[in-house]
Symmetry: C2
Subunit: 445 residues, 2 copies
């Protein structure tokens, strides 16, 4: 028997746990699911004979050592900033580790030590980052092998509500951690655009969008995502002219969100005193200039130069930000107050299914012909537990764990899933779960 220790049993872990339990008997696995809530861990295990739930406190060093020592591999689904606590102990006790998060500098620094001990810490193996890296590298390797020269790479991913259930003016509902959505982008973005490096500060990020159609799902709006420049090296695209990674929303989302940023409602750096006593109308008014005899709505429009009947104002009204409803959240930051409001409005209802949309665009030259590849993936949720998000985050992780344990994946060190040894078996198996790309290729004049 091999012991798999999974830390964190939240929403994104459902499909991950199901895969590991479904395949436990054949592979001789024992799955230990640890969470700060024992009940949550227990519920996810559902008394499965090869599963065991434990209460796990990531800040308890003794428990970390005890549980990791007994494991053959560790999956950390903790918030990204906490992976390091697990990684240290994995290194100490010679355990491989897998996460779905962006690799931190702290983890990167462990590369030499890991290699010395022949250990693998595989990061960014969820959906975005994760499936995006793997599916992009498959095409990049193909083009390179044919002798093609890649000029443009643009990749976008979005977690959205499926079109059948898309019924609000933002065309958006929360399909993952609301806090991450509210504070997204605060470090701005950087990318390479036609051989020019571009930097975008947070205050302009949601203005710098472009529209892209995906298959027959209509148009999506792309918002630049973090630091794309580092992936020039990671993907080995030294001669590229455009290197861009973005986040998909439906058209119009970004201009609405831009207004919330301009007002200051996404600020998480200070607390508002007695915030529980304010109404949302008081809250938004606190970010607007004083104006005698002018309504909060009029001031918003004047201040941000938007029309009183514009789509953006319709979005703001629909959110209830102008309503005299009490906030009821104590000593909260603007971002926390906004999140509370959005959680009421952007909640997935019981019938709603979610959707992951991913698209890569490549332009490359082969035998003096310029060509464009558009590779698109749509995944919809099966239900409210096995959501598109849970499937696309959990399955690559689970499959990676399988291939690490059975020796198919043989890499060591701090790795992203960009080499064929890692992405090939995982992408192949993902197709069995309907996680697959539609590829279109065009010849450019």
């Amino acid at each position: 028997m091999k012991n798999i220790l999974l830390i964190g049993a939240g929403l994104s872990s459902s499909t991950l746990i199901k895969y590991l339990l479904d395949n436990a008997k054949d592979n001789k696995w024992q799955l230990i699911v640890g969470d700060q809530s024992f009940e949550l861990a227990q519920k996810k295990i559902e008394k499965h004979p090869f599963g065991r739930a434990i209460k796990f406190d990531a800040f308890n060093i003794e428990q970390r050592e005890k549980e990791i020592k007994n494991a053959d591999i560790v999956i950390s689904m903790l918030p990204a900033r906490l992976h390091y606590l697990i990684a240290e102990v994995c290194l100490q006790y010679n355990k491989n580790m897998v996460t779905a998060s962006y690799v931190s500098d702290q983890i990167k620094e462990m590369d030499a030590d890991l290699k010395a001990k022949k250990l693998l810490f595989l990061n960014e193996i969820g959906v975005d980052p994760g499936i995006d890296h793997m599916s992009a590298m498959k095409i990049i390797d193909d083009i390179n092998n044919k002798g093609g020269k890649i000029e443009v790479f643009e990749s976008n991913t979005g977690g959205l509500v499926a079109p059948e259930f898309d019924n609000n003016p933002w065309n958006y509902k929360f399909t993952w951690n609301p806090r991450n959505v509210v504070i997204a982008g605060q470090s701005g973005a950087r990318f390479l655009d036609r051989a020019q490096i571009k930097y975008i500060p947070y205050n302009q990020l949601f203005r710098r969008t472009e529209l892209l159609p995906v298959l027959d799902y209509g148009e999506f709006e792309s918002i630049p995502n973090r630091d794309s420049l580092q992936y020039i090296d990671v993907y080995g695209l030294d001669n590229i002219n455009t290197m861009y990674r973005g986040t998909f929303r439906r058209p119009g989302f970004a201009s609405g969100w831009h207004v919330l940023i301009q007002l200051g409602l996404t600020d998480d750096s200070f607390k508002i005193k007695k915030s529980e006593e304010l109404t949302y109308r008081n809250f938004i008014n606190a970010f607007l200039p004083y104006g005698k005899d002018r309504t909060v709505e009029e001031k918003t429009c004047d201040y941000l130069n938007i029309g009183i009947g514009s789509e953006t104002m319709q979005k703001l009204r629909w959110l209830g930000i102008f309503e005299n409803k009490q906030i009821g959240l104590k000593n909260a930051s603007p971002a926390q107050i906004l999140q509370k409001l959005l959680e009421e409005k952007w909640r997935l209802s019981d019938e709603d299914l979610d959707m992951i949309v991913m698209q890569h665009q490549f332009i490359y030259t082969l035998k003096n012909k310029r060509r464009k590849i558009i590779s698109s993936m749509i995944v919809k949720g099966d239900n409210q537990i096995h959501t598109a998000m849970s499937k696309t985050v959990g399955l690559p992780l689970a499959i990676a764990v399988k291939y690490i344990l059975n020796g198919v994946i043989t890499k060591i060190g701090v790795k992203l899933p960009v080499c064929k040894n890692i992405y090939q078996p995982i992408l192949a198996e993902l197709e069995n779960y309907g996680i697959a790309f539609t590829e279109e290729e065009f010849e450019l004049d």
Copy 2:
């Protein structure tokens, strides 16, 4: 003999050191000036018989302990975040301490321990914060003593170039630490405006200005400064409707600076690779969208909706931000690159004198009459050493030290100069140095 230990011999310490040396003999003081540069400390002492220069390393705990143990009082002119290093040792060895910086939460927490040992840590006793607190509290106490009810308090201070030497389109030159000017305001601002709390994020800060005339010096533009709300308690103004502190610049400065913030040029959170090889034109272009066949100037205007011949564009052109001149600064953040450019353009030349402008406005009601007091101070530099900044920062500090040592100031704990025991003797003596307010009083409708 009493030993005064002054840590930090930079620009703002010149007048402070002169005062302490000029008054050393009469008061039986020995002044020890410590700086990381021994030469700088020595130069400021000028072989004065009551002065002694030492090389001082604030990060060397042994040296901190040795020097502070021998002192009767300590003045820290270190960067604000380092005061704590000095404060800890002062508490340990029972020494009073004085700084010109905003008091930090770390220092505030030492209040009970200081009181138990009957020690005083006097903070915010420079110009702004410092003279502003003292001169405002004098008027507030006067109004309260007469039985008046204060409704509005607005206070502004600016460090500027004197009008005779004001010859650039920004009407601004650096008269203190350029880095602090470049990154000013990044935490936004908060104040009370006609009974409504207002929060302004950084991205809107330099739009939210108002114009105020000061004596016969023309108009100044007020930019909201940090957290004014905390001074409602500090000044004891529980029933106030408007509590506002701002920074003065000349009109038009803020709209120019707002453009630099919108572009992202004040961002200090990341480094630009190979920044030394770029020109300023490359630099600004990196923050603008791609645009075929459009100049950097055209893109700037379109992007930020400003006219090509506008005053803001004239300001930007004058800075040289569109020039093909190499930056020559390695691995620098946008804010560092902008600072380098500004240091060339906004340098005080050898003949230039600086100026401090301060103004308080009060509206209060006394015997059913509403009244307005405008209290204004203009201080100009004597020369390039005893600048207005050096005088207005250094003299209140120096005078405070005198009155603490001779027992006139008797307060203990962590204090700001808002009580009569502290501000009265200091304001009285400042008048001898031409640091005085002109008070105008008006009856309102």
